[in-house]
């Protein structure tokens, strides 16, 4: 991957990488559809008017400066705002054919279908590595020993963690390094075989090598799960994503979707001048 040279003069913060246009990334089927989604806390709108499709088998990135509401929007997708008193989500979010906020899917079932990986690794400290992996299945009532054992191996394989932990599955999760813990959290989320995996700045607390490994992992993961990632790092978005949603804080401090397009288009030929400004590092 090469950096475009003419961007160098304003490269104090970010270099805008050139992304190859690749129409074949992901399918054209829609995994999740956002239709005019807004989130407000105690009446104060934090993000509004987000409309875009998350393509099945693709990596969709949400980028934008801090305060643009990317994490808030992400957490609307698995109804995590239900935990916050006073939070309100408007608009429509579809998971396949199901309306996320329509009452058709019970929230716990929805969250099993839309998994999540958080900014900081959060394995359950009192559980072993294996128990962490199977926790989601056990929460959801799966008790069959054979199923659980299969899930441990399959999920840890998928998270590229199996080889390093297969001899210490009974060890506490806290004995793992930060990067390994984050991959354990990915394995934990994969174990319930979700349709979509939400990743909220999954590498922000990790060192460069661990970050690299998780980025590599995502390319393999999208064969089995649709990924939506929030990142503050544009180069990461350029490296890992197929589609890109760019959000920006409006005058009233609410985040707005400025542009949604294939990643190559966002980075090479953005339609909105504010997108261009951002990827060239003029603000953020």
């Amino acid at each position: 991957m090469e950096m475009s040279m003419e961007m160098k003069e304003n490269s104090t913060i970010h270099l805008a990488p050139v992304v190859q246009d690749d129409a074949q990334r992901g399918s054209s089927e829609v995994a999740m559809r956002l239709n005019d989604v807004s989130v407000a806390f105690s009446g104060k709108t934090v993000v509004r008017g987000a409309t875009f499709d998350v393509r099945k088998g693709a990596v969709t990135a949400m980028i934008g400066p801090s305060g643009s509401g990317k994490t808030t929007l992400l957490r609307a997708l698995n109804r995590l705002h239900d935990l916050t008193p006073g939070a309100e989500v408007k608009g429509q979010i579809l998971l396949g054919q199901d309306d996320v906020y329509g009452g058709g899917i019970p929230t716990p079932i929805l969250r099993a279908r839309v998994g999540m990986v958080f900014q900081r690794p959060n394995p359950f400290p009192t559980m072993s590595i294996a128990d962490n992996v199977t926790s989601g299945l056990r929460f959801n009532g799966v008790k069959d020993k054979k199923k659980l054992e299969e899930a441990i191996e399959a999920s840890l394989w998928a998270a590229a963690l199996w080889d390093s932990v297969k001899d210490r599955l009974k060890a506490p999760a806290s004995t793992l390094s930060g990067g390994e813990q984050q991959r354990l959290c990915i394995a934990r989320a994969l174990a319930v075989e979700p349709d979509v995996l939400l990743m909220d700045e999954p590498t922000s607390s990790l060192d460069p090598i661990s970050t690299q490994r998780i980025e590599d992992l995502m390319q393999d993961l999208k064969k089995i799960v649709t990924i939506v990632i929030v990142t503050h790092n544009m180069q990461q978005a350029a490296r890992v994503s197929d589609d890109c949603a760019f959000l920006l804080m409006a005058e009233d401090r609410a985040g707005e979707l400025i542009e949604f397009a294939p990643t190559a288009k966002i980075f090479n030929d953005p339609q909105d001048s504010r997108t261009l400004d951002y990827i060239q590092g003029r603000f953020g």
Binding site: M1, Q20, D22, Q24, R25, G26, S27, E29, K56, G57, P106, P108, I109, A112, R113, N140, G141, V142, V192, E193, D195, Q219, K222, K223, I224, V225, T226
Partner: protein, 305 residues
């Protein structure tokens, strides 16, 4: 970068699993709600006796309270006049005098002990720290026994004295204030400490001018906690202050206190004495409540400031 063309397979295993989880959903929601109902019921079970105490103390205590009850000294009822219990003025005076002096003495001693604890290093230092932590939870009667055995003979000539009670209450309060002070000092941000030292200030100056002022609200909370403990404690003074029926502003005289009079009345023969116990209980609870309210206001202010 390689091109990725494979569509995500709609595997049977994923659909089977999601189907299974949906089937299990109803059951676990029902079980979960039953458990939640028990958890909430436990809160009610916890509140019933606690509210019963508050309500019955207010209800039955307020029936006893009167100006005479508060201003007259204690009398002993007798068969022909079973309601002649007088008042509790002697106990009020005793509590005021003894608790006042005890807390007055415990504040400097406790804060100084806290400073020492925060400075304590090595094996001996940590052992002292640990033992002080544990002393907070020791039965308070031990402080009364200590004063009785060690001081009542040699210092007080085997005579009951309010001062013996003062010493017992002071000793009981010192660990409370000391541990509160120590944890408040250790909660002062190390950067403040380092800034002071970097300016060339002596450790004593840093302690006096930086750490203690920063720790003041938390120390005050500890002091108020010690005060509410001291006001309500029966056991430490039970063996050493006697049972004065006179109101003595002289702390060295034989004394009475609100909790010890309650204890005495609970074992009394006349129903009027047991009713009077409710009145004292109401006063004790009110004091504890007001002291707690004060410490809440202080800590709320310090968090804002």
């Amino acid at each position: 970068m390689t091109t990725m063309t494979s569509n995500m397979p709609e595997t049977d295993s994923r659909l089977d699993l999601q189907q299974l989880m949906r089937q299990k959903y109803r059951r676990r929601v029902i079980v979960g709600n039953v458990i939640l109902a028990f958890v909430m019921a436990a809160l009610v079970v916890a509140l019933i006796p606690l509210l019963s105490i508050v309500i019955s103390v207010i209800d039955r205590g307020s029936k006893v309270l009167s100006t005479a009850f508060l201003t007259q000294v204690q009398q002993d009822p007798f068969a022909f006049d079973p309601y002649a219990i007088g008042g509790i003025w002697n106990a009020i005076v005793g509590s005021l005098v003894m608790d006042g002096i005890a807390i007055g003495a415990a504040i400097p001693l406790g804060i100084f002990s806290g400073v020492i604890l925060s400075d304590a290093k090595g094996k001996i230092g940590t052992t002292i720290h640990r033992i002080f932590d544990v002393m907070i939870g020791l039965p308070s009667i031990l402080f009364g026994l200590f004063v009785f055995f060690v001081l009542l003979g040699p210092v007080f000539n085997n005579a009951y004295s309010g001062m013996a009670g003062v010493i017992a209450l002071t000793l009981m309060s010192i660990p409370l204030i000391a541990v509160a002070t120590e944890s408040a000092i250790s909660a002062v941000p190390p950067t403040l400490n380092e800034a002071g030292l970097a300016l060339g200030a002596l450790p004593s100056r840093v302690m006096w001018n930086i750490k203690l002022p920063a720790a003041r609200p938390a120390i005050l909370t500890g002091v108020l906690l010690a005060l509410s403990r001291a006001v309500g404690e029966t056991a430490p003074v039970l063996f050493v202050i006697g049972q004065s029926r006179e109101a003595n502003w002289n702390p060295a005289a034989e004394q009475s206190s609100l909790p010890t009079l309650t204890f005495q009345y609970l074992q009394g023969f006349f129903p009027s004495q047991r009713e009077a116990a409710w009145g004292i209980a109401l006063i004790l609870m009110t004091v504890v409540f007001l002291v707690n309210l004060t410490s809440r206001i202080i800590s709320a202010r310090s968090q804002r400031g």
